[in-house]
Symmetry: C2
Subunit: 255 residues, 2 copies
């Protein structure tokens, strides 16, 4: 049983990705809607909330904790690991940074997040990044204004400088932001790759879980009836890892 | 071991979703690149190819077959089930139709696909749909022109009539199209929900697999520190199913 907490709705993007990656896994979700938003509270306060939320999930028999909130990950990730040394604690920042470094082509990575997340320097400590605080996104999402004209206007205001900076990769550094993905995508354009912390942490959890169970991840096999360089290239880009392509002769080749 | 075949690259979108939904599952992929594209070939020819491809995957010890190609699903889905009655055969059309009917709000559903897929009537037999043939999309994807100006122009030409028709849901009726999703999304706008056959068939396979193994799907639990109607509404929309929300008193409420 995996426990996830967030300041409110955002962690549901993580919950959804974990449900997809590990359909048999029961999820225990805690949204701290009474104290939302976390993003403009002090690091000490957020860390205290994170500890209380973790205790609640552990009392409910969670066996691993996912900090489904970038702000809490940024300021309390290490604290939680110290406070609960025997519990696997997953945070949403590191997997997203790794993914961004993997997919960027021009090395220009952007990250958007709450004031506290960006101010914590949790992303920038990994490499130089173009940062932008988006303090209104969480309240807009929590209010359900995913497609409101105001949201569009604010999003343009937040994102334009990153676009001008020529980034080719943008980390959605808050688990609320995947709910605004279509809007963010439409502003940033097709050439900017969005890195979704919800997706990347879910993949990490799935991988760790399989390793913990000593399940060997399968080696998939790829066959084509005619090898083409484009196939290999597009396939690898799409799947996100190298594949070995084998050409096979099927019946029709002899016709 | 799950065998997937497609005329070329498209089925990789299905493969990727199955890898996400069932990380422990080995995949055997066959891309029929020597005979691609299928979309403008006759139903009889495509059905013959589908049978040959299935035989190849079964020889390679696949235990279930996924027709990772809408054209082959449309014209050969039933034929394959008759030809191989003991093998579980999954096709990409039915799960996508079910999902479209679930997410549409105004009842106006669009579907784009190859000539043979649209011509087969495989989608329209379920309910009235706005259809559009997009014969150039598969060759453009196979050539790797995902972001070429020509692709943009052609996409606008294909999609404008569907936009004018006021659809709120668009089925990507070809497994190549998820590779063009950012472009299709940018043209259709945020108010149109895209239904991705690759995603929907992967969910179906994951569900069936769990049922076959008699694994009970877990009942997730959702707690908040303060109940809000918006939370429930947005959460259910996002997760795609009903949730029961429980309010819990945490320490801070007593402060």
């Amino acid at each position: 049983m995996i426990g996830i907490f967030d300041s409110g709705l955002g962690g549901l993007t993580v919950a959804k990705e974990i449900m997809r990656a590990l359909p048999g896994q029961k999820i225990l979700y805690f949204g701290d809607t009474a104290r939302t938003p976390y993003g403009n509270k002090s690091p000490e306060v957020v860390a205290q909330y994170a500890i209380e939320n973790t205790k609640f999930l552990l009392r409910k028999k969670a066996k691993a904790i996912v900090v489904g909130c970038n702000t809490a990950s940024a300021v309390a990730g290490l604290k939680l690991r110290k406070e609960f040394p025997k519990v696997p604690i997953f945070e949403v920042i590191t997997p997203a940074v790794r993914e961004a470094l993997r997919v960027t082509r021009n090395g220009k990575i952007g990250v958007i997040g709450t004031r506290t997340t960006i101010g914590s320097g949790a992303y920038q400590k990994w490499c130089k990044m173009h940062t932008r605080e988006c303090p209104l996104f969480v309240p807009l999402v929590e209010a359900g204004h995913l497609n409101h004209p105001t949201t569009h206007e604010i999003a343009r205001h937040y994102l334009e400088p990153l676009k001008r900076a020529g980034i080719d990769t943008l980390i959605l550094g808050c688990t609320h932001y995947p709910l605004l993905k279509p809007l963010i995508k439409s502003i940033m354009g097709n050439t900017v790759q969005l890195v979704d912390s919800a997706e990347t942490v879910a993949r990490e959890i799935a991988n760790v879980k399989f390793k913990m169970q000593n399940v060997k991840l399968p080696k998939h096999e790829f066959y084509v009836s005619k090898k083409t360089p484009k196939f290999q290239e597009i396939a690898q880009n799409w799947l996100g890892h190298k594949i070995e392509l084998r050409e096979i002769r099927t019946k029709q080749d002899k016709d």
